[in-house]
Amino acid sequence: MVQLLATIEHAVKKPVWGCTMCGQCVLHKTGLTCPMTCPKNLRNGPCGGVREDGNCEVEPDMPCVWVKAQDRSEKMPRTWREQFDDLRPPVDNRLQGTSSWKNLLTGRDKQVPAGWQSDEE
């Protein structure tokens, strides 16, 4: 069942968003643009290497994932748009290959390392 869910998720999200099955999907917060398609895997916005034409430092022929994400996020519903500025935690590498739908339902994708949350929060 769980494997079936992962297979369906990959079949849907791979062709549309280039999904790599990180298992902790944040698409709705990033203008429906997958940050894992950024060659540097950045989850919190564009690096300082974006080219004058808005293309990627690493792949000169590819538009910067984050330039696209930021542009698209402006057209999202307000809550999603505001979540663009959230500080997203480091990727949990154990979730690679698992279904983010399952991890969303179980709350597994919200788990962060015990030391991540600031004392003031």
Partner: protein, 312 residues
């Protein structure tokens, strides 16, 4: 001699804060570093120990930062996300702090394709806002795992931002994210489009970014038009307008024209709201830093380090 942490919390700053890049070192023992220190230290509050700058391997950020500290200059240890996973980054920060290196500058890092070993693997296990938060947590006495560090290292955490790269209007929001993660200063990438730096600082003022972090725009000291062309073509995220390159290239004295360009940029940057100081990258390797600091009417920060301190 005030530390950078003290300078950045002064309620009414007496003068701009000046930092500079310590050029990468490969060999020659500590003498190689002390030569740079002798030349640059009199004019700066702190020197950056770079972390495999431009994706080229050099003596490590930790080793150079410790050496700078021994030579009597506050090091700003750059920490980049490109080459190390989160365990190694935490270990470097904690290890350097053990030697009294407590000022950091967190960055994503140029891609490996910008360097001379492009066949290597890229790590990027964390991104820079995550690294800033992780460092901030170390300063609060916790590793990412939650395991305590006691005593916690008293870190001053900085970061970088690039006002000259798209998406321009978003760059200040990214700065705010870094401030929220724990950054207290931002060394801004060299920006050859004055209007972009102006726009960035205006937005920083209206959003309050400049009250959360000290803004330190970078000024590059170059020898001539060749370096400007190189930056424009080869350095990720830096664009130099053709008119600026021509201005230097067509001058009768290219070296002097390059200096005047840097001086104008420095004056312009210091005139902008919320700019707390300047960060210099010296590619001339001569006495230019002293000249520009004097021309800006800034005081010499300290005497040249004495030979005792240098003879390590």
């Amino acid at each position: 001699m005030s530390s950078l942490a003290e300078l950045l919390t002064e309620p009414t700053p007496a003068r701009p804060v000046i930092t500079a890049e310590c050029p990468p070192v490969d060999g020659g023992g500590l003498n190689a570093i002390s030569e740079h220190v002798r030349r640059l230290a009199p004019y700066v509050d702190a020197l950056n120990a770079t972390d495999n700058a431009a994706a080229h391997a050099h003596a490590s950020n930790v080793a150079v930062a410790i050496a700078l500290n021994r030579l009597g200059v506050e090091p700003i240890m750059q920490v980049a996300c490109r080459d190390k996973n989160r365990l190694a980054l935490e270990a470097d920060i904690v290890g350097a702090a053990l030697h009294g290196v407590t000022t950091l500058c967190c960055m994503t890092g140029d891609d490996v394709t910008a360097g001379d070993e492009p066949e290597t693997g890229r790590v990027f296990d964390m991104d820079s806002p995550q690294l800033i938060r992780a460092a901030n947590r170390l300063a609060q006495g916790r590793y990412l795992s939650g395991r305590p560090l006691d005593p916690a290292p008293p870190l001053l955490i900085g970061a970088v931002e690039n006002p000259g790269a798209p998406p321009y209007a978003y760059r200040v929001r990214r700065g705010l994210k870094k401030a929220a993660a724990g950054a207290r200063f931002l060394q801004l990438q060299i920006c050859y489009h004055e209007d972009r730096l102006t726009e960035f600082t205006n937005l920083a003022e209206s959003t309050g970014l400049n009250r959360k972090v000290a803004l330190l725009p970078t000024i590059c000291l170059v020898k001539g038009a060749k370096a400007l062309r190189f930056m424009n073509e080869r350095v990720p995220g830096i664009a130099v307008p053709q008119s600026v390159i021509d201005l230097v290239a067509n001058a009768s004295d290219e070296r002097e024209a390059a200096y005047q360009l840097a001086l104008e940029q420095a004056k312009h940057a210091l005139s902008l709201p919320g700019v707390r100081g300047l960060h210099f990258a010296d590619f001339r390797h001569d006495d230019t830093l002293g000249r520009i600091v004097a021309d800006l009417g800034l005081p010499t920060v300290r005497g040249a380090p004495d030979s005792e301190a240098i003879a390590v």
